[in-house]
Symmetry: C2
Subunit: 400 residues, 2 copies
């Protein structure tokens, strides 16, 4: 008996089984982009590291700032000029000011910086004409991060903004999870690797290109196994054993259906794998097998790369994201209206790619079931309930 389940059940089983990240390693910050932090880090300096001006203008004391805001006009004596990067020993007192640039350290005694557009300078004096209000135009030392503060980083992808924060805090290396190792196999006696001659009855393996691309985007290390494996049980068994010995996760395309040469589930069983799911209640991907041995998940996808690519995005990606160590491994699904009809099954949920367009009341989705070219700007997968592919239907969409 095939163990049939919904996509949601399959995602839950896979993400429950897979650990949150594998071993971790220490790498320089310059190599850390898109890696997943395995530990929190400690700020090595205050951010910003000193009280600084956010404007080009004139620094004043707290008392003078109060006077200015009370509307009491006065001229201030300019006692110095402070450029960004300068280490000065200017000290303000009541009635004095210093010319100061954006990013420059505040002089001692300064409480606020008045925007230069609000001032008129005459010789070495400046007149302030506008009440600046409560905004001081300054940024305090440590207002973004304090030295020795713990930065909640574990389980986060190191995107550009987090990298910026770490660099600002003086951090030069970071602990990250190692990349998951994913072994890929394609079975099918009709397959030939690209670049080889293809005899009658044979086609080129396109799954390796698709899977390698998607896995590299997901931050994985790809191990390309056999891409032209014949449909014979001993060959498949041997290749599966090799995969189980060397990878954190295995993806096998082809051989998953009910034909006489669909031998992958048998090869998995004979290698001691436990079959978790033998059929998914969705199209494409009905004939998908999910198995596990120790803590290695094995996905056996349909041989058709269109189906395989959608299953990768909706089913394998959450498990891979958790395996990478990403704490928020779930992706965003939302409601969206169909801007055109989708071919869909009358009895099963159908998943297909979609393009977003600018509708009157927000984005709408155009189902893409044929156009290969547009996928680069087809950022969603649509989940269309059985028989609900009409234009105007509201369906669920996954933002890739």
């Amino acid at each position: 008996m095939r163990n049939k389940m919904s996509l949601e059940e399959a995602i839950k089983i896979c993400t429950d089984l897979v650990g949150l990240g594998r071993e971790s390693e220490n790498i320089p910050i310059s190599a850390a982009r898109d890696r997943v932090a395995s530990e929190n880090v400690i700020a090595l300096n205050d951010v910003p590291p000193f009280d600084r001006s956010k404007l080009d203008g004139y620094a004043v004391t707290a008392g003078d700032f109060e006077q200015i805001n009370a509307g009491i006009a006065a001229d201030y004596k300019i006692i110095g000029q402070i450029a960004a990067g300068s280490n000065h020993n200017i000290k303000l007192c009541c009635g004095t000011t210093a010319r100061i640039m954006t990013g420059a350290p505040l002089p001692e005694g300064a409480h606020a910086v008045i925007r230069q557009e609000y001032t008129v300078k005459t010789g070495n004096r400046v007149n302030i004409m506008v009440r600046p209000g409560s905004e001081t135009g300054c940024e305090s030392r440590g207002s973004i991060l304090s030295k020795a503060q713990e930065i909640d980083l574990a389980g986060s992808i190191l995107n550009e903004r987090l990298m910026e924060l770490l660099i600002s805090a003086g951090i030069n290396s970071v602990k990250v999870f190692r990349r998951p190792r994913v072994y890929i196999i394609s079975t099918g006696s009709e397959l030939v690797m690209p670049g080889q001659p293809a005899a009658y009855g044979h086609i080129y393996n396109t799954n390796f290109s698709m899977l390698t691309g998607k896995l590299e985007r997901e931050g994985c290390e790809v191990i390309q196994g056999r891409g032209d494996l014949n449909d014979t049980l001993p060959e498949i068994k041997k290749e599966v054993r090799k995969a189980l010995d060397s990878a954190d996760l295995v993806i096998i395309t082809g051989g998953a259906s009910e034909g006489d040469f669909d031998l992958v589930p048998a090869a998995l069983r004979e290698n001691g794998c436990q079959i978790l799911c033998g059929e998914l209640e969705m199209r494409p991907g009905r004939h998908t097998t999910i198995a596990v041995k120790d803590n290695v998940l094995i996905f056996n996808l349909p041989g058709n790369p269109n189906g395989g690519s959608i299953l990768f995005d909706v089913l394998i990606s959450p498990a891979l994201r958790k395996l990478r160590g990403i704490k928020d491994f779930r992706r965003i699904w939302f409601n969206i209206g169909l801007a055109g009809p989708a071919r869909c099954s009358a009895s099963l949920r159908t998943f297909c790619r979609g393009q977003l367009i600018d509708g009157l009341n927000g984005p709408e989705a155009v189902p893409l079931q044929k156009n290969l070219k547009i996928e680069g700007i087809a950022p969603v997968i649509l989940d269309i309930p059985a028989g609900k592919g009409q234009q105007g239907s509201v369906v669920r969409a996954l933002l890739l």
Copy 2:
């Protein structure tokens, strides 16, 4: 006088000036992912290369298929078995059938394949129980692409799906535009490169990390110039000259404001650059300078990496995409409701990052103005009209 313009005017000027792609080069298909094709290609074989079965089942002739659909029951004699990848010489005639697997070449005389679930096999005969309807279960040779057919590829990003099509068509190499060379410079006497000791008044350069990340994602070759350039005109002039000599596009952070040490526009002018725009009517990025020399565009962004990062996404990215050779270089903007309030200027459009959430009637956007961590899943830039930052406002969003 500063030449003030809207974001849309600036984008138009930049994308009009920049050419659609630079020189092209021939590369193997295995290295082509995310590159931009510079020419159309010709299919070297039919896709699929032979008439094939889409199912596991039984092949029948056109006459028998008509009989079956007319409800005339009969037993068919099984005269052979065809696995995927096999080169056989089976020939069907009326009353005979062949067992056939998904992806296998059709036998001579076959018109349709009946799904095995619709049949009962007894010995070497099979009984077909269901009228399959018009669906033949077959895919004709060349139905996706014909041999010698031109594939409209020029100006497309080679995504996984296009790569699949090219591999299927027997193509092993492709002409692509070379990656744009982008020279980056950061000015500001307060800047220190990461890993160096930072004296009082100094901060780490975080713009290089941000820009390098974004440029690499955009398929560019990054040339890191000086990241700690002092605010002196001769030094800036020299570095700008070097950049103009070696790059297709130049990005300079800092020195763009109206402070006493904001010398970049002067350095550009003295290098013979024409200033196209001296001020953008938006926040952040009001103090942005855009210049050109020959066909090299120069962007002078604010020193604050938050502002610089948004300007990169909304302003520089379209120009870079066209420079890469992408025909559809414009990105998708759409309407979206704000799920929370955004701090915004009362007099200027404000741009900020947004996170998408699953609202009742489709996605809604949460403005992110402080949270650095969430950007990995903050896929939009919001364009908030002056004073319209209230929760519920409908604004424009750019999907990154």
